[in-house]
Symmetry: D2
């Protein structure tokens, strides 16, 4: 007889984990956890062990030491009979991310963890491992929910939904940041308005903001244009939207859409950063080092403030809320990656989309999405084709699918240069992309 929920964290050696632990502690009254399994691979053994110790201290401080904490490199016992599996690993570690950034820049393209050539490379490294984990879940914990916040979250979720039977939900902090930023602009509590977003992971738009009986989207647009924009995550540099474009759009693009609407400016900043403090991956690597030095401190028994400067804030917060919403059938509105199933007209039923959903014990039920304006829909369809072909390439190792995927991506330059960049990407990642051998 289980004493409480069994929660398993894959890639628990991540510097984000303390946020997750904090979130679980906060929800102690509604999420009765019995066991917490912190899993990582050999390369992450030191980190996961530091995290494990910090976790013990955090639980102790909150009088929650009854929760069993297991730190392990062996996935199978960790997955056995789990209720929730949180996936937050990074295939190829930060070195892989930095490599993606540098290769992209070398070929004159934007280099980023989830977009363009870098997003493609990340997907090809990550998806085979994600599917392997899911195959194990099908056997060891077929009823468990998988909360995926491993990037690129949208494509990883799509691969899982298409190729396994696991009940998976993809998470991202971008809509959470929008939600919180809009609350601030409306001077309202988060539960007092309904934000509806729709699109693909890192490619979403706010479609409506229902507050006090009407849609305040256009008010928020004016607020953004007036200068205050709390919708931008830490890892995206500040910028201004072209005012008329935004005002006439009838939607609010997420911060990541800057990569597409203003790619030259992003490119400029990336080159500057790469030549200065380092690429985002390099900055994060240094930051991680500092964080783990802090985590090591045996006096520390709470999430340190410094973690909030890391780009992914709220990721784990969202994961905890999602677990609670499912467990308690809360019917909260959350913004997650799930099977499209008609939610966004013009996309295939079986692809993953990031949309606002009512969260039930049986999983997310998407809200209906009004038709996108045709120019925006074209962009979404194009990106989804890129994503679906990337998933295909990641699963099969078909270079032609890879080439077709990349040709479509607006952040990728086509021509001989692309053929070279693709070959270098595969070559440099071959240990993580055996499918292309």
């Amino acid at each position: 007889m289980k004493k409480g929920l069994k929660i398993t964290v894959i890639g628990a050696g991540s510097s984000y984990t303390p946020e997750l632990i904090e979130g679980l502690i906060k929800r102690n009254h509604e999420l009765p956890i019995g066991e917490l399994w912190l899993v990582d691979i050999e390369d992450g053994s030191e980190k996961v062990s530091i995290i494990g110790d910090l976790t013990h201290r955090m639980l102790a401080k909150n009088n929650m030491s009854h929760i069993e904490v297991h730190v392990t490199l062996d996935r199978k016992p960790a997955l056995k009979d789990a209720d929730f599996v949180c996936s937050q690993f990074r295939a190829g570690c930060l070195e892989g991310r930095i490599r993606d950034e540098r290769i992209s820049l070398k070929y004159g393209m934007i280099g980023q963890e989830t977009n363009g050539l870098g997003g493609f490379a990340n997907a090809c490294r990550t998806i085979p491992i994600a599917l392997e984990i899911c195959k194990e879940m099908e056997e060891l914990c077929p009823d468990a929910w998988l909360l995926n916040f491993t990037n690129p979250s949208g494509m990883v979720t799509e691969a899982i939904l298409k190729h396994t039977k696991v009940k998976a939900v993809g998470l991202c902090n971008v809509p959470v940041i929008m939600q919180k930023g809009i609350a601030q602009m409306l001077n309202a509590e988060e539960q007092d308005f309904v934000l509806q977003v729709a699109g693909l992971n890192h490619f979403i738009w706010a479609r409506q903001i229902l507050h006090e009986g009407r849609d305040k989207l256009q008010d928020v647009v004016e607020e953004i244009l007036s200068g205050s924009d709390p919708l931008v995550p830490q890892n995206i540099p500040p910028f201004e939207w072209p005012a008329e474009l935004l005002r006439n759009m009838g939607m609010i693009p997420c911060a990541y859409l800057r990569y597409y609407y203003t790619s030259e400016d992003i490119m400029g900043q990336e080159i500057e950063e790469a030549n200065g403090e380092g690429t985002r991956g390099e900055v994060v690597k240094a930051m991680e080092k500092r964080l783990f030095d802090i985590y090591r401190n045996p006096e520390l028994n709470e999430k340190p403030k410094e973690l909030e400067k890391r780009g992914g804030q709220y990721y784990s917060e969202a994961a905890c809320e999602l677990m609670s919403s499912i467990y308690n059938d809360k019917r909260t509105i959350m913004h997650v990656n799930t099977r499209n199933n008609g939610a966004i007209d013009g996309l295939p039923d079986d692809c993953a989309v990031e949309v606002s959903c009512m969260i039930t014990k049986a999983g997310p039920v998407p809200l209906n999405v009004a038709r996108f304006p045709s120019d925006t829909l074209c962009l979404i369809q194009l990106m989804k084709e890129f994503e679906s072909l990337t998933v295909e390439a990641a699963v099969t190792g078909d270079r032609n699918a890879a080439h077709r995927a990349l040709i479509l991506n607006p952040l990728v330059t086509t021509g001989t240069i692309l053929e070279k960049a693709l070959e270098e990407t595969i070559e440099a990642n071959l240990d993580y992309m055996p499918q292309f051998r």
Copy 2:
């Protein structure tokens, strides 16, 4: 300064009104009503006066006499600054309904208030009046919500959404009965599961029944096939679905779909009834007479039991819950007629559909509807074409649109007979259908 909500009931002389009053009384703690306006036309003046007196007695019994009750034949003051307008009138009274039934039967077609030739006639009588009321609302209470339960509810709502700016929601008791019946079969409270329905008014299917973390639709199917079927309203005779058809459908058709899946049997029953106790309209007319005799009783100060035998039970219950959900931003899931806007793929954005929605202070937000199986979708599209052409005919008086509408309806027989039946329908209703003159 308003002392509370102003609620206006159009067609308040209906025998259903006591249920509505009861529903408002029950929600006294969450719906702070200041004024209640009961409106009817000259022909209904006696009835509305009886209802008014009963309302006074019911409020008094519940210590709610602070609510101003106005009984009037003058719509304009009643609409002025209303917060909620409940529309439940019947154009042409029960006589019109009976006439529809008798003309349909005369020409060998199924005769019913919302389906086939009868539904067409009812729409053509009702829509011009509904639009007239809405034009007044645009001026006198532009922010009010219109709760339409005037039949045919789907077509009336579509006409209002297409031709006016009024914030209208169409209601029907069919999904409410499904909700309650399923609760009974699941042995669960209504709020403990999520029922999702989709389709058109009187033409819906349950698509999923989320309970205890999974979809129990197929369990409910087996329960229905095993004999117990509490999903059928009082005014639909009991029957059995073809077992294999239902079992393989992956959806549960509402009771009204019997008109389409088993039309010959319905036809047989209608003929039998017409030759026996009378058509449904005739039965209802007798029932109404009895009910008003009861209402007249100065001792009566609550909704009498006898009302529950009337077909439309829960209509007013749904209306009260909807008012409260809007007023309190409750985010309840209710099943209402609203603008499609992509909810059902394959139907126009601007048509009305009956779908499960999250009710907010800003109105209904439909849940996403998974694609219908293609054969069912064809039927829905056909019926929607019938409805939209009927709305067009009702608004413009275009006989060709009327003819095109009726040709599509599976309950209508085509040929010379249809031309005759259409002419007789228009002729007999000319006072209510001046647009066809």
Copy 3:
């Protein structure tokens, strides 16, 4: 080394065959035939032998006795290396057709060879045999073209296109009659205008009539309304379209659409005929008997005039023209059943549609079809669902698919009566429908 084309006729004992022979004779200069194989089954051995003798006499009269004529009951040598295979058999003979008509009428439904319950029964008898022939063709003459005029031509063609690799084209005389009738109304040669039709077999509309630099469709409509209607085949009784309906349609419905637009009138006629001279099948049976008496005459060496009174005139004419167009890459516009492939928007790519095509040596290339008005499109989609589900039922013997198909058909009455009619149909045809056993 082949001396000329090898043409194989399946069901050559049909009374239509002399028309086919005449057509081949007329095209002697462009269709160099070496061998003509006339195939039938045991039950048709006497008829095919009579046809064989008449064929010899017709060829002799035209100095074409160099063509080898083979009469056989053995299909395989007949198919071996054939260039063109004409399929014109009737599964279950005229007795099957008459049985369909009588069962339909018994249950109060329209009974017809290609529509409603009769069309369903005919498809279920015919498709298994058609597929068997095609399997043989895949092996014995993989490059041959199959010209299918076996009814129901649309569904049979769809079954072949979906389940075999045979290059099949479905033919019907309905559009041919329209073409000839319109020529007469325009007082023009057939090649002087472009008629474009679209829809499903026996369910088509003329969409444009390009003549002398403009679309004369509306002129032809007025001509039809003025009384002259040469568009109606011999086996459809004369009638009048509702004038305003036709005038506003922007299309000209084929004569068979009368079954749907004016079903009550057709029903009346069918009952009258069944009680009088007999059903259409019974009339045809008598006519066939008379025709074969004529064919037997050893003096006869040409197609007798009497054949023209038979309903299917021009069927064989169309087949001959199609063979010549393919053989000579003529690029004629013909109206045939072929894979949709996007021709009619809103129908699946892989279904069969009847559309105007440019005929090349590589087969038919459909002309683009402008979007249908939405009400008409709904009807076409509904009928296509009926057809595709019928094909599925015919191939698999799945009763549930059969039931779902029939529920959709506007000529079929639903309810207990349908369950009975379906069972009787299957029972009565069990020898020809082993798949339902």
Copy 4:
């Protein structure tokens, strides 16, 4: 009483005109021309006069001096009662084209007459004039056919089809070159195979090549990959397609698609050319000067060989064939820009597409286009959105539409740089783009 056809050429001072004259002379037997009106504007008066003289000499040589030749700067008498109007003007002359190229390159974008920022600028200069001409045609020659080969041909044709009643067909030499190249590869006459192309102007793919009874598309692909590629126009530099991409595509992209599939390589060549012999516009300008020196020669009485080196060969050939096909109801298959009307699924009905059509006296009837693979369809939809928004911007002068259009175009870089490039484009062209003032 007209003595023959009246043909009017707008922009007759173009260096291409002698090819057009040659084409008309060749078709003397089937195109009975009475009058030829050569129209240009003040700036082109010298050139059109040279062309007029050469035309007289060419006609005289061929004993066709009975044709009246009018050289004029006054459009109205030239349009009056015209039968065919050929539009081949260049708004802003070659100077405008060169300006487009130089501005694009300055901002690091591909600069080209019909693609990217240059195509946008060209459309905005040209469309207002094209619409002005069409307004005159509506009045002066409402039955005339407009053959538009003014670039950007697709967008100009779309603007005309959307905003005027003129019967317009857009022409391009790209598919003509494909047709001729494929003939060469197949070693066949052009009329011996059916090439079907589909897409947008300068954005088409060959979809099938029906020859000798089968589709030889894949054979042609292998021929192209083996080195011989006669499908490339003179003004596109030679290149190689990525072999696997082409082999798996199932279609053959036109040469202009190189701009999208291999944009970096094109960019490199453009920079090299701009720094060397000059941009394409500059090269053409020098070439034009040489051509007119040749045309001036009073001995010259035929189209000089040198013209063939100019990029647009076969443009006028196609125009002459199109006139003859319309006039003679020839039903030739030609590849033209026309109203989509469902030909390409997934594009709006009212946009212009470039598809293979059967040419009748009533104009082009498109062949059905099989569904595009979804990744290619996304690109086509994106480009069509760009085109339609560009047409909107060109008609209304709406900067926001312009911005939205350009953001979508894969050859355009987004960001602050785009805002600057757009402003400079409008500023530099303000005389030709008064709509943006």
